[in-house]
Amino acid sequence: MSVILLVEQTLNGLQFGVMLFLMAAGLTLVFGVMGLINLTHGSLYMVGAFAAAAVAARTGSFLLALVASIAGAAAVGTIIEMAVIRRLYSRDHLDQVLATFALILILSEGTRWLFGSYPLFLDTPPWLSGTLMLPFGIEYSIYRLSMIGAGLCAAAGLFWMIARTRIGIQIRAGENDREMIGALGVNISRLNTLVFAIGAGLAGLAGALIGAIQSVQVGMGEPVLILAFVVIVIGGIGSIRGAFVGAILVGLTDTLGRFALPHLFALFMDASSATSIGSSLASMSIYLLMAGVLLLRPRGLFGAT
C-alpha cells in the first residue's frame, strides 16, 4: 500500500470522525445536563439532511441549505422537546428509550409521508467540488477538506461556548447539580430546551454535510446514531472532550480498518478470502475497540468514575 493512499484514508477517517463528533456532542450534552438517553438524535440528523436537500432544490444555494439544516433540525428538536421529551427527564432510562423509539417511528414515517421513499440528492456546490493538491503530490477532495474544517469550527465554537459564555457556565452547572442552579434563578426548563436545540442543530448540520456525499433518505440517521453511541461509550458519557477523542478514534479505526485489514490478510492468504475476511472484520473493528475500552475503563476514557 502506498503512502499517498494511507494519507488519503487518514484524512477520510478524520472527516468521518469530525462528523461523528457533531452527532455525539449533542447526545452527550443532553445526557450530561438532562440525564436523557435520546434515540431521536438520529432522526434530527435526518431532518437536517432533508431540510438541506429541500432548500437546495428550491434555491440552489448550498450555504442556505446548511442554514436550513441547522434551523430545521433545531426547530424540530425544540418542538419535540417541548411536546414530549421534557416529560421524560424524571423517568427511568427504559421509558426514555421507548418514548424516543416511538418518536423515531413517528418522525421517520412522517418524513417518508412528506418526501416519499426515494432518496433525495444534495449536490456539493461547484465552488467546493474538485480536488486540491496537497504537498507530496496528494490530491484530496475540497469538499471533504471543508467538511473537516466546518466540523472543527463547530467543535471549537462549542468548546468556546461551554468554557467561556454564560450559557456554558449554566450548562456545566446543570451537569453538576440541576436543583441548585434552578434555586439560583436559572430557568431550568428553558436551559433544557436550549441545550436540546443546540444538540439538534449540530446533528442537523452533520446530516446535511454527509447528505451531500451520500444520499438523503429515511433511516439514514440510526446507523450514525449507533456509531455516536459507540463514540460516547468510548469517550465517557457526558464528557464533550471524551466525545471528541472518541469520535476521532472511531472515525480513524473504521476507515483505516476497512482500508488496511484486507491488505493485511492478503499477506498470508489468497486475495478473495482476504478481502471477505478483512472486510467482515473491519466492519466489526470499532465495536471491538469499544469492547477493549470497556475492559480497561468501564466508564469510558474521560468518564467520571
Binding site: 432510562h93 427504559l94 413517528i106 414515517e109
Partner: protein
C-alpha cells in the same frame, strides 16, 4: 383465582382458539398470523427475563434473535445443498431436524448472550443500553459483510424443517409446535421466577447492596439471567426463520431489538404473560393498521408513546388496575 391468572388463561385460550377456528373456516393466513404472534411472544418472554425480572434494559436482543435465525439458516442450507458443515477434524453435516436446530440455536445464542453480557454487565444504566445496541449492530454488519451465507440478501430455505411425526408445512401443525414451545417456555420462566434464583434476581434488581450483603454476586445473577434471556430469544429466532423459510441480516437490525422491546412494554413489564399479550397486540396492530395505511408506523409510534407516558403497566396494567406485577 385472581384477575391476572384469569387473564393469562383467557389469553392462551384465545391464541389457541383463533387458529383452530381459522382452520375450520379455511383461512390459513390467520393461522400463520397467530403463529407469528406466538413466536414474537417467545422472543418477548426471553427479553422479559432480563428486562422485567433483572431490570437489565437490553436494546440488543436482535443479536440473539438473529443468531437463532442464522443457526437455523446455516444448518438447513448445508443440509439442503448436501454440503458438510465441517469436514475436519470430524465430519459435521447440516440438518433439517427441528429439535437439533432448536438445540443449536439455543446453545449458540446462549453463548453469544454470555459473551455480550459478560462485557456489557461491567457497566450499568445508560451505558448498558448503548453497548447492547452497539453489539447487536456489530453482528448486523458482520452478517451483511459475510458472503458465505448470503450476505445482504440472506438465505432462503426451500422446505420448512422437519419434526418427527408431523407435517410442518401444514400451517396448523407448525402452529401447534410453536404453541407447545410457548407453553413450555412460559412454564419454565414462571418456575424460574419463583425459584431461589428468580427471587434473588428480583431482589438484586431492587437493591444490589442487600443482595451482596447476604452473600450473592449481582453480576453473576445478571449474567445468568442475561444468558437465559438470550437463549429463549434465540429459540424464537430459529422458529421465526422457519416460519418465513428465510433468514436475513434484518433479524439483527436495531428495529428488531426495538420491536422485541415493544412486545414487552405493550404487555406489561415483569409479568410472565406480559409479552404474550404485547406480541398479540403488536401483530394485531401491524395487521389492522398496516391495512389502513402504508404509514402505519406513525400510529404504532403514537400508541407506544401514549403507553409509555400514561399507561406504564401496559395491557396487564390497564386490565388488572395495577402498574407493577408486585402490587
Amino acid at each position: 383465582m385472581d384477575r391476572e391468572t384469569g387473564l393469562n388463561l383467557a389469553l392462551l385460550g384465545v391464541m389457541l382458539a383463533i387458529p383452530l377456528w381459522a382452520m375450520a373456516a379455511d383461512e390459513p393466513f390467520l393461522v400463520t398470523l397467530t403463529t407469528r404472534a406466538v413466536i414474537f411472544a417467545i422472543a418477548g418472554i426471553g427479553l422479559n427475563v432480563a428486562l422485567g425480572f433483572g431490570g437489565l434494559v437490553s436494546f440488543g436482543h436482535a443479536a440473539f434473535f438473529g443468531v437463532g435465525g442464522y443457526a437455523m439458516g446455516i444448518l438447513a442450507s448445508h443440509a439442503q445443498g448436501y454440503m458438510p458443515l465441517i469436514e475436519w477434524p470430524i465430519l459435521v453435516e447440516g440438518t433439517k431436524s427441528m429439535p437439533v436446530i432448536w438445540l443449536t440455536a439455543i446453545c449458540a445464542s446462549a453463548l453469544t448472550a454470555f459473551a455480550i453480557g459478560a462485557l456489557s454487565l461491567r457497566t450499568a444504566g445508560v451505558y448498558f443500553i448503548m453497548i447492547t445496541l452497539a453489539f447487536a449492530q456489530m453482528l448486523y454488519y458482520f452478517a451483511i459483510s459475510w458472503p458465505a451465507y448470503g450476505g445482504e440478501d440472506g438465505l432462503s430455505i426451500y422446505l420448512r424443517n422437519a419434526f418427527p411425526g408431523l407435517n410442518t408445512m401444514d400451517p396448523i401443525q407448525f402452529f401447534a409446535i410453536c404453541y407447545a414451545l410457548l407453553l413450555a417456555v412460559l412454564f419454565l420462566v414462571a418456575r424460574a421466577a419463583r425459584a431461589p434464583f428468580g427471587l434473588m434476581l428480583n431482589a438484586a434488581r431492587q437493591n444490589e447492596d442487600r443482595v451482596q450483603a447476604v452473600g450473592q454476586t449481582p453480576y453473576r445473577l445478571y449474567l445468568v439471567a442475561f444468558t437465559i434471556s438470550g437463549a429463549i430469544t434465540g429459540l424464537a429466532g430459529a422458529l421465526f426463520a422457519d416460519l418465513n423459510r428465510f433468514v436475513s441480516p434484518s433479524m439483527f437490525s436495531w428495529q428488531t431489538s426495538g420491536e422485541i422491546m415493544v412486545f414487552v412494554i405493550l404487555g406489561g413489564v415483569g409479568r410472565v404473560f406480559g409479552p404474550v399479550a404485547g406480541a398479540a397486540l403488536f401483530v394485531l396492530l401491524e395487521h389492522v393498521l398496516g391495512g389502513v395505511s402504508d404509514y402505519w408506523h406513525i400510529y404504532l409510534g403514537a400508541i407506544l408513546l401514549a403507553v409509555v407516558l400514561y399507561a406504564r403497566g401496559g395491557i396487564f396494567g390497564i386490565l388488572t388496575g395495577r402498574d407493577t406485577a408486585n402490587g
